[in-house]
């Protein structure tokens, strides 16, 4: 069916307007385009265009799917690292606070070693905060607030110490203020950051999954376009196989086989990491924060001296939750038996301390809580802290490695897919061009 060029173009939708003579320009271009695809030659051109477009869409969409998965896994890796960083800030702060509190429990001059542990913990927190703010700019505002509160906290501890040194009991009021800032402002903010990073990691894992779907769509478009083109060409030219188009299909299939394999392996690895080392990392870090808090509550219970029932209950609930997380870590494949044994040993010491305090032997309780003999609280908790830190580092490293393994192959596959998409586009056009030659 031919249409005279002078006839106005058909209207395209409801509410059509009569054609205006000023719109001759675009109308003419459209008619010219229609002319290109008219007749047998035009149909061949149309087939070629479809093949080229399908190849290009395949190349671009496929490449971005690979890139998406690579960057999602790399995000998951970065988010896991940030999660560990934020939780390390929490443990270091609680540890610093436990040291400062212990310093007040021990009468007389604060032991130099204890002061050094406090200073070291605060310094490492400051470094971790700036590192974490650089690593994840989204966390920077919250970390800024943590930093501001941290300087109030350290200032109050310093005032508490200087009063204590002069024998002024007002030091204990400053210690309470510091503790309030830590527990009412800093730790809740860090807990929110932990949750934000957990959700971020979860979203990264999920978006890595979505990349598979996009690759499927890219391959679908590529194959359907090219195969439809090949079939139409075969019907029109009575030649079963067009070698260049077959080569283009082969290029797509190469991506299906090799790229699909990498994609699947990377995803299997991601799934594995998510259910093992990532879960274990999160759970161990969480358990450590809780255990450190339980240790700190031990000192606060003694500082409260007979009025610390609330602190002891918190300590108990911390330990119950910590055990839940250790179970989670263990089920996720982390070796937690040494950690559990050491935690139990500390809990035994803790019970001795509570027993002494509850039966009126506060001084004995304080001695056990602050000295560093074999049966005292500090060395037993220290052993647990070191072992659990090693377990956490091992899991964090495994998660990091697991999420890095397939990064290179995925990025490579992305570029290869883009290249193969272009090759397929050129090849399929060439294949159609061969048939077009026959009409000249």
């Amino acid at each position: 069916v031919t249409t005279p060029t002078t006839v106005p173009r058909p209207t395209t939708g409801p509410g059509s307007f009569p054609p205006r003579p000023t719109l001759q320009g675009p109308g003419r271009a459209l008619d010219a385009l229609r002319g290109v695809f008219r007749g047998s030659v035009g149909q061949l051109r149309l087939i070629g265009t479809v093949c080229v477009l399908a190849s290009l869409v395949f190349g671009v969409l496929g490449a971005s799917a690979f890139r998406d998965r690579a960057s999602a896994l790399s995000d998951a890796r970065a988010d896991t690292a940030q999660l560990v960083r934020v939780q390390t800030i929490q443990t270091s702060l609680v540890q610093a606070d436990a040291q400062a509190t212990n310093g007040f429990l021990v009468a007389g001059l604060e032991p130099a070693g204890q002061r050094a542990i406090y200073d070291q913990a605060i310094a490492s927190v400051a470094a971790l905060i700036s590192g974490a703010a650089r690593a994840q700019p989204d966390d920077a505002p919250a970390l800024g607030r943590v930093n501001a509160n941290l300087s109030s906290y350290t200032e109050l501890i310093a005032v508490a110490r200087s009063n204590n040194r002069q024998g002024f009991p007002v030091g204990s009021a400053y210690l309470r203020q510091a503790s309030d800032i830590l527990r009412a402002q800093i730790l809740p903010e860090l807990a929110q950051l932990t949750e934000a990073n957990r959700l971020r990691t979860s979203a990264a894992f999920d978006s890595s999954g979505a990349a598979g779907t996009w690759l499927g769509i890219a391959i679908g478009i590529g194959l359907v376009g090219l195969l439809a083109g090949a079939a139409l060409l075969a019907m029109r030219t009575h030649r079963i196989i067009n070698v260049p188009i077959a080569a283009a299909v082969a290029a797509v299939l190469l991506v299906v086989l090799v790229g699909g394999l990498f994609m699947s392996l990377a995803q299997a690895k991601a799934r594995h990491v998510r259910s093992t080392s990532y879960t274990a990392t999160y759970a161990l870090a969480r358990a450590r924060v809780l255990a450190y808090d339980a240790k700190s509550e031990e000192s606060l219970t003694l500082i409260a001296r007979g009025s610390g029932q609330a602190n002891e209950l918190l300590s108990k609930s911390d330990l119950t939750q910590a055990n839940t997380w250790f179970d989670v870590a263990s089920k996720a494949g982390a070796g937690t038996s040494a950690t559990n044994t050491q935690l139990s040993q500390w809990i035994e010491v803790h019970k001795v301390i509570r027993q002494a305090d509850d039966t009126g032997h506060w001084d004995t309780a304080v001695a056990t809580a602050t000295r560093s003999g074999r049966h005292d609280s500090n060395p037993n908790f220290g052993a647990f802290a070191a072992t659990s830190a090693n377990a956490l580092n091992a899991q964090a490293k495994a998660a990091n490695n697991g999420l890095t393994t397939w990064h290179g192959p995925l990025v490579g596959s992305g570029w290869a897919t883009l290249l193969l998409g272009l090759v397929a586009a050129v090849a399929s056009w060439w294949g159609v061009a061969q048939r077009l030659e026959e009409y000249r």
């Binding site: 007002v170 894992f205 998510r274 999160y282 009025s307």
Partner: protein, 342 residues
């Protein structure tokens, strides 16, 4: 469709199904653990909530207490069935004290000992019960916890498990509403409420502090008495010493409290001064739970013994005289309160 095409389509379909099968990175294994732990935790601070004071009842003269025993019995012959005998059987006197009120009850940061004028009264009672001054378990409580701790101590296992105490020696003013909840010994110190301000303050008495923030402890008569000055903005905190920190940080303009306690604050801050005359009278008594008037009688005998053996004077000279001057001596007791039937 040709055979090679069929093969190609077959392969493609196979790969696509494989891809979609792998599209999920697994569900989040942490989410279920987190939701199981999200159950609300109980906040255990029953003993910290101040018991509302009953409406002022007429208790006669609040300073009037039960007659003392004729003399302090030797530890070996404590009356059987008495509360002091029960304390002796337990092996320690459990006392609610302040750990940060300089001069009255505070933990010396250098020696680690709890000491002060209030604490000396407890040593005298421990000496009378056990023949040793140090059989005391100190429980550090806030002003608001004084009455709840005594009430908790009167319950079964209240001392061992409920955070209760046998006695409160914590700068506690004797008054009628409190007689409705606990029992008091004879007056062992007579204080009066004043205010502490910055050294450069132009105020000369509490009347000059309208519109200013004045800090005092929750559950104390000090903060209750501020109601007589409605233009003052009261700031109530759990521990009186917290006021000193707030004062030094510039968050409150003044601290109110009993002169003797304020003297302890001035000792810790040379930029503070106490102004104006005492605008209330705050007689301090040792408090015990109701239902043990025999223990109050025992304590009163101990206070009488302190009067005769000079222990009260020695303690005053040690703790208070350097800051408060020679003073008026041990307050004169008022006895004769009828002992309630058991």
């Amino acid at each position: 469709v040709t055979r090679p095409l069929r093969v190609v389509i077959g392969l493609a379909v196979l790969s696509l199904t494989q891809l979609t099968a792998c599209s999920s990175a697994g569900s989040d294994p942490l989410a279920s653990v987190l939701s199981s732990l999200a159950a609300p935790t109980t906040s255990p601070s029953a003993s910290a909530t101040p018991t509302p004071a009953p409406s002022p009842s007429d208790c006669g003269n609040p300073e009037q207490t039960y007659n003392p025993l004729p003399s302090v019995p030797p530890p070996s012959t404590l009356p059987s069935g008495s509360y002091e005998a029960a304390i002796k059987a337990r092996g320690r006197l459990v006392a609610g004290v302040s750990a940060d009120t300089l001069l009255f009850g505070y933990r010396d940061p250098i020696s680690g000992n709890v000491q002060g004028f209030d604490i000396d009264q407890l040593h005298a009672i421990s000496q009378a019960i056990f023949g040793s001054p140090d059989k005391i378990e100190f429980r550090v409580i806030t002003a608001a916890q004084r009455i709840p701790a005594l009430i908790a101590g009167a319950k079964k296992d209240g001392i061992e498990k409920g955070g209760g105490v046998d006695i409160v020696a914590r700068a506690m003013t004797v008054n009628c509403p409190r007689w409705g909840q606990v029992a008091f010994s004879a007056i062992y110190y007579r204080a009066g409420q004043r205010v502490l301000v910055r050294k450069d303050s132009k105020a000369t008495s509490i009347k000059d502090l309208d519109g200013q923030k004045v800090c005092g402890p929750i559950g104390s008569t000090s903060i209750d008495n501020l109601k007589a000055y409605p233009k003052i903005v009261p700031v109530a905190v759990p521990n009186h010493t917290d006021c000193v920190a707030l004062f030094q940080e510039g968050k409150v303009d003044a601290i109110t409290g009993d002169d003797a306690i304020l003297a302890g604050f001035v000792a810790q801050d040379p930029y503070a001064k106490v102004i104006g005359p005492a605008f209330t009278s705050e007689p301090y008594g040792l408090a015990v739970a109701q239902g043990h008037p025999e223990f109050v009688q025992f304590i009163n005998a101990v206070l009488e013994q302190e009067r005769t053996d000079g222990a009260w004077n020695a303690s005053y000279t040690k703790w208070l005289a350097p800051r408060l001057g020679p003073g008026a001596g041990q307050p004169k007791p008022v006895y004769g309160r009828p002992v309630p039937p058991k």
